[in-house]
């Protein structure tokens, strides 16, 4: 990463109005490419004003918008070997020629009639690209797949529920803890046949370790949310898989939230870092989970080295490092027909999809996250393909404090502690970006794009964009030798659905209960969709 210094950020270099929505971004040879819900734009950064070079509209089926659980989003495109890869809401992976904007291949993977969409950003690794489905709220059966970058052919596809042969669990599977050993646990840890619509989708981030040739990804919540209907550990949901890139064979698994009761999807980013742990060099994997614990795992075998709380937690009491099991707080366990109050974190977790950023320079992890709790009532629900399979009434609210619902913190991985933290009025739903110049960037749902000091958190600069920010900052060095930073402004996502979908705040249960915590968002921002590019001076 080029070295930004802590000097002022010069000026807006380019803006582009992209229509509503959008969260993702990716840089390809100095040219950032973005997916705004469905359209991919290429800007030519070598020319002043960054004119559009091409656009690619994959024209997904409009009906797919109805089965996207938490607003219509796309978490980004990825560049590799001359192609840009991205996913469509109606379940396709597409490869586009980065120079011409022409489609190279398109592979159908998900079926919206079963409630499947694809919202994640693909991860190119060697000659493959890894993708997975969304739809944990629709009773889908979750999976991840590897496609051949050149042709789009599916090389392997592994489900996250069901028999071992579908999950690609075989002789190479060597989990660290005893509870993952046994035959067809993806069937036997569920009531009869419920694994068929048990969720466990792969809508978050995939990481790849080229030395170990392993891919890592988190698995979403089990379905339905109503946990009384599905006694058992509900494997392999709300956990993490390590798989061989070439064959998909599972190597190890760890379950963050066995028998999840709170919609704690396990899909948050897995940051691969090599560090000294208690005096020993370790190949680690750091994961801020929705359940509120910051996990440090040995990424060679799935052993939990540490699980420290980084946000207020009432739903559980800790993680037993000997067994690897999460210890639930029985007082907060949901029950059908009874309202359980003040469950913290709320369903979107202490942190949702918004990716954190690790600085090799400071050694700290910069984490955008939430401060939310919830009241939850489990209600009866039946599975009807293509409709939601949830069965809870949820009302979220601010967690402990002065009503702030978001936080941006610097975390010391080695000592499992917060170094500094900034309270924000709304959940910090944008990604973080740490630069080698000791500046960290993030955006707020009011629309501020902020730069803070990496070691103290002191605000260095801010710019008010035209809408709330839920995108990810990107930086690159231009052909003119200058460093740039870009952000897409345009509120939405689950937290911003109240604005993006014009939802009615009189019903706190709207948008799976998030509306209850976001009633004041429409007072401070409106829909948007504008790309801002800044030069660092």
């Amino acid at each position: 990463m080029p070295g930004a210094n802590t000097g002022p950020i010069e000026k807006v270099k380019a803006t582009l109005r992209l229509g509503e929505q959008g969260a993702g971004s990716s840089a390809a040879r100095g040219r950032p490419l973005r997916t705004a819900c469905c359209t991919l734009y290429a800007l030519d950064l070598s020319q002043s004003g960054a004119p559009l070079k091409w656009t690619f509209d994959p024209a997904p089926e409009p009906a797919s918008q109805g089965v996207a659980c938490c607003d219509v989003v796309n978490r980004g495109a990825a560049y590799a070997n001359g192609k840009v890869f991205f996913n469509t809401l109606d379940g396709d992976t597409v490869a586009v020629d980065a120079e011409t904007g022409k489609q190279v291949w398109r592979t159908k993977l998900g079926d919206i009639r079963l409630g499947e969409t694809i919202t994640m950003a693909p991860l190119p690794a060697k000659d493959k690209v890894i993708v997975g489905n969304s739809g944990g709220e629709m009773g889908v059966r979750g999976w991840a797949a590897a496609l051949d970058q050149a042709t789009g052919r599916v090389v392997w596809k592994a489900t996250n529920t069901g028999p071992d042969k579908d999950v690609l669990i075989g002789s190479e599977f060597k989990p660290f803890y005893a509870q993952y050993k046994g035959k067809d646990l993806g069937v036997s840890t569920w009531p009869a046949d419920m694994w068929r619509q048990g969720g466990g989708s792969v809508w978050g981030w995939v990481s790849y370790d080229p030395d170990l040739n392993l891919v890592y990804y988190g698995v979403s919540n089990p379905g339905p949310w109503n946990s009384s209907l599905r006694p058992g550990d509900n494997l392999w949901t709300a956990g993490i898989f390590a798989r061989d890139l070439d064959t998909g064979a599972a190597r190890w698994f760890y379950q963050w939230s066995p028998h999840d009761v709170s919609d704690y999807d396990g899909v948050n980013e897995n940051v691969l870092v090599d560090l000294m742990w208690k005096g020993q060099p370790r190949k680690a994997l750091v994961h801020p989970d929705r359940n509120g614990y910051m996990y440090v795992l040995d990424r060679t075998n799935g052993e939990v080295l540490s699980a420290a709380p980084y946000a207020p937690i009432t739903s559980t009491k800790g993680v037993d490092l000997a067994s690897g099991r999460l210890i639930y707080n029985e007082d907060k366990r949901p029950e059908q027909g009874k309202t359980i109050t003040d469950i913290c974190p709320a369903a979107p977790g202490a942190k949702d999809w918004q990716p954190s950023s690790f600085s090799h320079k400071s050694g700290l992890l910069y984490v955008p996250h939430n401060n939310l709790c919830m009241d939850l009532t489990e209600v009866e629900v039946g599975y009807i393909a293509g409709t939601p399979y949830v069965g809870t009434d949820v009302k979220m609210k601010a967690g402990p404090g002065d009503g702030h619902r978001g936080e941006f913190m610097a975390w010391d991985i080695g000592h499992s502690r917060k170094i500094w933290s900034i309270n924000e009025r709304f959940p910090v739903w944008s990604g973080a970006l740490a630069t080698a110049g000791d500046v960290v960037f993030y955006g707020t749902m009011e629309g501020w794009f902020k730069a803070v000091d990496a070691s103290t958190g002191k605000l260095l600069w801010r710019f008010k964009t035209s809408s709330g920010i839920i995108g990810q900052p990107t930086t690159w060095k231009g052909s003119d030798g200058k460093q740039y930073v870009a952000i897409l402004s345009g509120v939405g996502g689950w937290s911003g659905a109240i604005v993006a979908g014009d939802l009615d705040k009189r019903d706190g249960t709207a948008a799976l209960g998030f509306v209850n915590a976001m009633k004041d968002l429409p007072d401070v921002t409106t829909k948007g969709g504008t790309l801002y590019v800044f030069t660092l001076g």
Binding site: E380, G382, T387, D502, D507, A510
Partner: protein
């Protein structure tokens, strides 16, 4: 999920609705083509706009069926149970919206009359509203439509099981 559970759910619904069976059959007899010919909304003709060529208002006919069910507390209660059981609640919640638009506000994309709402449920709508034609009998579609109409009447949202 257990097919068993769904069967239970459906039998509960059938129980709740058994009182309407007679009229259901009667309606079907009156409009024998309702199963096959579109629209199956018996005698209603709906428009989605207040405009018609020639400076006129569009021709519309409210259906007798809609008029019979609208405002009837028993039918509305049956519709409310169906709104939960058919997972409408998962997309529209208790009127505030989510995957689908709010139903408790005064903005209607596809019309606010009970005939419009029944048509929405029966035919589906392009941006992700599923079509319940063939999945639900027409009688139940009318009952849900009658319930949906009450959501925008300014009343606080009713909660299913608390």
């Amino acid at each position: 999920m257990s097919t068993h559970r769904l069967a239970l759910l459906f039998s509960l619904m059938a129980f709740a609705l058994s009182a309407c069976d007679g009229s259901d059959r009667q309606v079907k007899k009156q409009t024998p083509s309702s199963e096959t010919a579109a629209p199956s909304s018996s005698d209603s003709e709906v428009a989605l706009v207040p405009l018609a060529p020639g400076g006129k208002v569009p021709l519309q006919t409210a259906s007798a069926e809609g008029a019979r069910i609208e405002g009837d507390p028993e039918q509305i209660e049956a519709g409310k149970q169906l709104f939960m059981a058919m997972n409408c609640v998962g997309c529209h919640f208790h009127g505030g919206g989510g995957m689908g638009p709010p139903l408790m506000d005064t903005k209607w994309i596809y019309g606010s009359s009970i005939d419009n709402i029944a048509a929405t449920i029966r035919e589906g709508r392009p941006n992700g509203m599923p079509s319940f034609r063939g999945f639900l009998p027409d009688e139940q579609i009318w009952q849900i439509a009658a319930y949906v109409k009450t959501l925008s009447a300014g009343a606080p949202p009713p909660f299913a099981t608390q």
